[in-house]
Amino acid sequence: MLTCRDGKRDDLVIRGARVLDPGEGIDGVLDVRVDAGVVSQLGTGIPANGHRVVDGSGLLLAPAFVDPHVHLRTPGREDEETIESGTHAAAAGGFCVLLAMPNTEPVVDSAAVLGALLDSARAEAVVPVGFLAAITKGQRGAELTEMGELADRGAAGFSDDGVPVGSAGLMRRAIQYGAVTGLAVAVHCEESSLSSDGQMHEGAVSAELGLTGYPSIAESLMVARDLAIAAYESRPIHLLHLSARESVEALRRARADGVEATAEVTPHHLCLTDASIRSLDPNLKMNPPLRSADDRAALIEALRDGTISAIASDHAPHARHEKEVPFEAAPCGVTGLETAFSSLYTHLVEPGLVPLETLLERMSAGPAHAFGLDRPCIEVGAPANLVLLDLAAARRVEEHGFRSRSANSWLLGETLRGAVRMTVAAGRVAFEE
């Protein structure tokens, strides 16, 4: 279930933008008319008829983005993010849907906690938001949550993100029982006895810096386990934030064997490598860690060929004082909602590593499909979920420029190209500048 504030749907005519919807096979300069939040006409010379007219000349109009992996920190750490600030940040990043992870305080593991969140979202969310519920109670990896009741109450899927389900037997039960809900089960793949207190990718850079290594196999071993369970049970599975070549290769083999597995990758894993950790900047610390150039190349290749079908920001806000500590003492996680598109446009599309159409698809239709959501599309009769992008705009990422309550971005000080000018989510203008 996706929830947001109620309100009047907008009437718009967006004129003269290059309309690009890879899923609909549209690419051309067109006018788009939106009546009461629904796309009503595509064409040229569409009259205003009293609608607000948006000049799209020189801009790109695409289906808005879907972020399947966001930490809204609510309940518990509203100083870091709230549903309101997080959805504003999402809108500023061009997203029309986001899915929030349940590793809050308390964990979203009961219908009561989930219900309270849905009520808050009805009052605060400027963009439709769905809430995943935990797979295990308290994310402790010991007992399953009441998945049926959580599904009935409106969970958008299940995940113990942040920690693995350590027991293979319990993971199997979750996948078996999760079938009755029809919702996605999304897994954080980490073999804790191998990652232990790992601070960064294990390799030449961790050897040099002395930071405890978190080896690739800590991820890929768990990926292999969960793919084997999904294959055995003939059930779909979604793999969160993949980082390692071995994981990608295991996924590719499983998909070729017919396993219904989807996976996501983050902008930071697509843009950076462990070499950047030499700066010891705590805003480069996350789980899974940045990996080698070879891993990064494998992720880009998998994104291109569709093995990885979704991009997820893994937006993980942290209070400033929590990150103003030595690298080794810093918590894992970086923000990313507001920079997801521009970072990938700058680092993948402009250098020619990934076509623009692929990026747009992996940020919208790909994640929607993985969680059984409607694909945002620019089609007559579809709800208006649109993002208006200015590919030529360049902007420096500054600490004070975020709508998120937190600024622990891995991009501070960097100049990015490709700005979001307007986001229409569920038929309403959620962001513009």
């Binding site: 002395g210 150039a293 250098p351």
Partner: protein, 332 residues
């Protein structure tokens, strides 16, 4: 009003000069920097041979020693080094300070920065602590050990000791033996020794040799007999305090000692032996080796004083000990 205060503040400040210099990692130094520091240490050593051992060089300067980990030789030698150069010294230990009350490293640094120290020497259990201090004070920052990362003054004093005792560093073969994984001393020494043209072989049990460390320009061996080929055998402390329960890097200290402990039988006559201290006699080093004439362990401590004097002198006078701009990113 606020505006006028700001103007006064700016007036009181000297015009923006070159960025402050720090010593965070050996990787920040060029071979020339190291040669200059060692030459400074040699001339300071001569001054210490006089009856009046105090030099007026850093009179009126303030050095703060901020130690978050226990230390005997490093903290005492930094303190004495600063005093020998006539600087004012404050030594702060985490135990018994506001740190005990939960003060963050940043706040402690800001508090100390209010006294306008010229140098802050920091030891901290967490990698990256010196970088944080650099970001919140105007002082020159010297890393006296941050977690498993770096201990640059140790490596400099080791170079100085080798040069004094063997006459050179270039072309020598140094075997570093033991728990490399948890050793900041090993990392700084690999960088320092290879920078100065020595050949380095790391020797120890596979779980204690970090994967991929060959990229630093050293060789790796798991066979203790390879140390016979070295000119210097550098023995690392078995860092028992860093071995978490159940981590099982080695089955037991007993087995470690039997396989990798440095005994007279495993050495070639005349081979020099070094150890950064504190030693676990009977674990990584046989007492007969520690007390032998070939052991340079006490020389290392003595070198520590003049080398740390040289570092303080260099930072506060002329030498360009620069922190290279951090590699902020590595993209396509």
């Amino acid at each position: 009003m606020a505006n006028s205060i700001k103007l006064v503040r700016d007036d009181l400040r000297p015009p923006a000069g070159p960025p402050r210099r720090h010593l965070i990692s050996i990787a920040d130094l060029s071979r020339k920097d190291v040669e200059r520091l060692l030459a400074t240490a040699r001339s300071l050593a001569r001054s210490l041979e006089r009856e009046m051992k105090k030099l007026p060089t850093l009179r009126g300067r303030t050095v703060v020693n901020l130690f978050y980990e226990s230390s005997t030789r490093t903290s005492s030698s930094f303190e004495l080094a600063a005093k020998r150069l006539s600087a004012d010294v404050m030594s702060i230990k985490a135990a018994g300070s506001a740190v005990d009350k939960g003060e963050s490293l940043k706040d402690t640094a800001l508090t100390l920065a209010a006294y306008d120290p010229d140098v802050i020497v920091i030891r901290h259990p967490h990698i990256g602590a010196p970088r944080l201090i650099v970001g919140c004070t105007d002082a020159h920052v010297v890393n006296a050990g941050d977690g498993k990362h770096q201990h640059p003054t140790q490596a400099l004093l080791d170079l100085y000791t080798i040069q004094q005792e063997l006459g050179r560093v270039e072309g020598l073969h140094v075997a570093i033996v033991g728990d490399v994984l948890h050793s900041r001393v090993a990392r700084s020494n690999v960088q320092a020794l290879t920078l100065m043209g020595a050949r380095v072989t790391l020797v120890g049990p596979p779980p204690l040799i970090p994967r991929g460390i060959e990229a630093m320009g050293c060789e790796v061996s798991h066979d203790i007999d390879t140390i016979k080929a070295a000119d210097v055998v550098y023995v690392l402390r078995m860092q028992r305090e860093r071995m978490q329960e159940g981590a099982a890097f080695v089955p037991s200290l007993r087995e470690y000692t039997a396989r990798w402990g440095i005994t007279p039988e495993r050495l070639r006559p005349g081979q020099k032996v070094m150890h950064p201290g504190p030693m676990n006699r009977g674990v990584e080093i046989d007492p007969r080796v520690a007390d032998a004439e070939e052991a340079l362990i006490v020389d290392q401590v003595r070198s520590g004083l003049v080398v740390r004097m040289a570092v303080l002198y260099d930072l506060l006078t002329h030498g360009p000990v620069e922190v290279k701009a951090a590699v902020a990113e590595e993209v396509a």
